[in-house]
Symmetry: C2
């Protein structure tokens, strides 16, 4: 039986989950994987936290040097999060030739090349399944399951907090602020929710996932990002009437014009498999040239689901002798020659408020036509009121055309306000 020692850096939510899984499954892994995984150390300054989990005092460290110099530690699990001190700790482990397993999306998205360089130098393993979409094995799938395919499209619901909020807004017709407060009470959203609700968390993950899917480093700054804070529940209801569900989508496309990466709220048709991904569940939808459409669905966060991904990497590292690194050039920026699309194409849901006067629609339609935008659906509400909402969905068009057309529409005398612009993905 092979003995493999594990150290866990940080006993927060994911660290504690990881510890519990390793502790409770030790015999199971011996039987089914032929490997004895023992936790040889934890790095945690809150000693009482470690003791409460039943960890022996002699294995609780407050100093990374003691862990990376411990010959019993083969694999270092980093679940601290954020850039520092996680980065220094991971580099120290790699320098000592320890394999690293991490759930740290921000670190990985920003310093992938640097970590990989360090890992290669000592031939250490570097695994990051837990950095994206929690327990869903999307990274292993991209590297070892879909690698026969040229992937043209990756669309994901990859942030649980925003999906929980949007699901409740959809079900209850409640407004954003009320649901957010409730989500914070229930632990689904942080006290400072901006990383989630502004789309940063999804953008980190999209950077990692689209880099793997498209075999080109997709840096964070190439990702268009828009959060859900401005979403009004009436738009969710109008969209529903037209057959759509609103989700915060992370979208990566790779086509002739280049790579297109964006995180923003979007309507999708109710019969799309992503439309029924609700609450804090996540899913990633991929399109490969051979496989066609596939989707992976599961829990994107939480102590045990993310711990499952961590321990899956630990077992993989413990039972495979060769490491397959990602194949990017060692650069933090985009490689020269890789093109990125800014003026992407989409359909658009537009809501504006107009005065109830003859000819308003004709003027609006005229402006849209000037920018080659054609209308596929239209609802007009509240007949007889002085001001009334008009909702329309366009056919596919360019982002820049829509922006310019909306500026012009906003300047019409009969238009009181342009209230909402939401992309519609097909």
């Amino acid at each position: 039986m092979k003995n493999v020692g594990v150290a866990i850096l940080g006993l927060g939510v994911v660290g504690s989950g990881t510890y519990k899984i390793l502790r409770d499954h030790r015999e199971f892994y011996k039987e089914t994987q032929g490997v004895d995984l023992s936790v040889e150390g934890v790095l945690e300054i809150r000693k009482e936290k470690a003791l409460a989990l039943g960890i022996e005092e002699s294995k609780i460290y407050d100093n990374i040097a003691e862990i990376v110099s411990n010959p019993n530690v083969d694999i270092v699990v980093e679940v601290i999060g954020g850039v520092e001190p996680a980065k220094s700790f991971v580099l120290a482990a790699l320098h000592s030739g320890k394999t690293v397993v991490t759930s740290n999306k921000e670190l990985f998205c920003k310093y992938w090349h640097e970590l990989e360089k360090a890992a290669k130098r000592t031939n250490a393993g570097l695994y990051f399944e837990a950095s994206c979409v929690g327990g869903v094995p999307i990274i292993r799938t991209l590297i070892d399951g879909m690698q026969a395919n040229v992937i043209s499209n990756l669309t994901g619901i990859i942030n649980g907090t925003t999906n929980y909020i949007l699901t409740r807004m959809t079900r209850e017709g409640a407004n954003y602020q009320d649901v957010l407060k409730d989500a914070q009470k229930l632990g689904y959203a942080e006290a400072n929710p901006s990383a989630d609700v502004e789309g940063y968390d999804a953008a980190y993950k999209l950077s990692i996932l689209s880099s793997l899917a498209f075999h080109k480093k997709v840096p964070l700054d190439k990702i268009y990002r828009e959060g859900i804070t401005e979403i009004q529940s009436c738009d969710i209801a109008y969209g529903d009437e037209l057959g759509y569900t609103l989700k915060l989508l992370a979208i990566g496309k790779n086509g002739e014009k280049g790579i297109e990466v964006r995180v923003h709220p979007a309507f999708i048709r109710k019969d799309h498999p992503l439309a029924s991904v609700n609450d804090s569940f996540n899913a990633v939808f991929l399109k490969g040239d051979s496989v066609g459409d596939i989707m992976l669905y599961g829990r994107g966060a939480g102590d045990l689901p993310t711990g499952s991904a961590i321990v899956s990497d630990v077992i993989y590292a413990a039972t495979h002798s060769d490491v397959k690194y990602a194949t990017f050039k060692n650069t933090q920026q985009a490689e020269p020659g890789v093109k990125f699309v800014n003026d992407f194409r989409s359909r658009y849901y537009i809501r504006f408020t107009a005065k109830d006067r003859a000819g308003v629609l004709a003027k609006v339609a005229g402006i849209l036509a000037k920018y080659n935008i054609s209308i596929s659906d239209l609802i007009q509400k509240g007949e007889g009121c002085e001001n009334l909402p008009i909702i329309l969905i366009t056919h596919e068009t360019n982002e820049y055309s829509v922006r310019r057309a909306l500026e012009k529409i906003g300047m019409l005398d009969d238009v009181v306000s342009v209230d909402a612009t939401i992309r519609v993905e097909s």
Copy 2:
């Protein structure tokens, strides 16, 4: 650059798809995987088929011996299907130390232990992702993605033909025979459809998948199997009224009482992620003790989707030096000590035709109560007719109790016939 030679045994649908993928992606794999995969031989007696694909004449063989003795061939892809001659060919390849990649579910399900023994002897790789659920990477996920979990439940829609037929019966209210004929015309069903519609194909796959999920060999003969040939569209419609969708499910459970494996039509709630898996799409839903619920969705058959799984295994074999075999004892039967559950628990949809007389329902309810079966839903149709259908759904109960109760109900004077019994899964 590593050069790896591939031979393809059989240029049927999957073989041709595999060849096309390898041919069209050769440069792509060099770039992204660092490996040059060349097709060094095909075994195909229909020479013109190979020539039409653009294969050089010198690489077309009609004799397995020439392929397994060819030093340029490292990996042998078996896509012939069925037991013989596929089995002899695979064994010949393994004896020569060639790694084998196969899509052959019947062969793998029946002779897994024998193939694995042969592979271990020469340290050859043995990969079978394409044997189950086409392009969906469910085998890699079970082996390398979910291995941190004790899996208690695996539920799948793993046969495309039956899902296509049931989807059309559901949408159109059409009857089984008509849709089957249409499916045969369109190439979704074979001229002799019994392997699909009687559930054999799903049972082969369930045997493989549940063996991997539960780390115990689950032999074919332990799987309860029931096809879709008796399904009437009126039951699909009544189920719809009660909030359920009908699917052919492959179900594996592993609990305290033992392993329970069954393939049969079943109603599932419309909001279950499997309920929206339509047409020829497949999906597998897993429950792990750490990860919770996860689902993989995609195309379960077809030249390119299954070819994608084959080539994914080929690349994996070409880029990983160590082989991880499954961990069963070398036996074709169930291991002694492994318990299997026959009298499984489920909810039941029951439809029977009764004479419109007072007291029928009371008598039926009385019999059910005697067997400890309680009713959760009931619809009675066609009031005023002489004979009328009564539809009920039970709470969870034992299979054997239901069978005995239905025998008694069938003997009641006022009951004309017991027309349908369909399990309801939650």
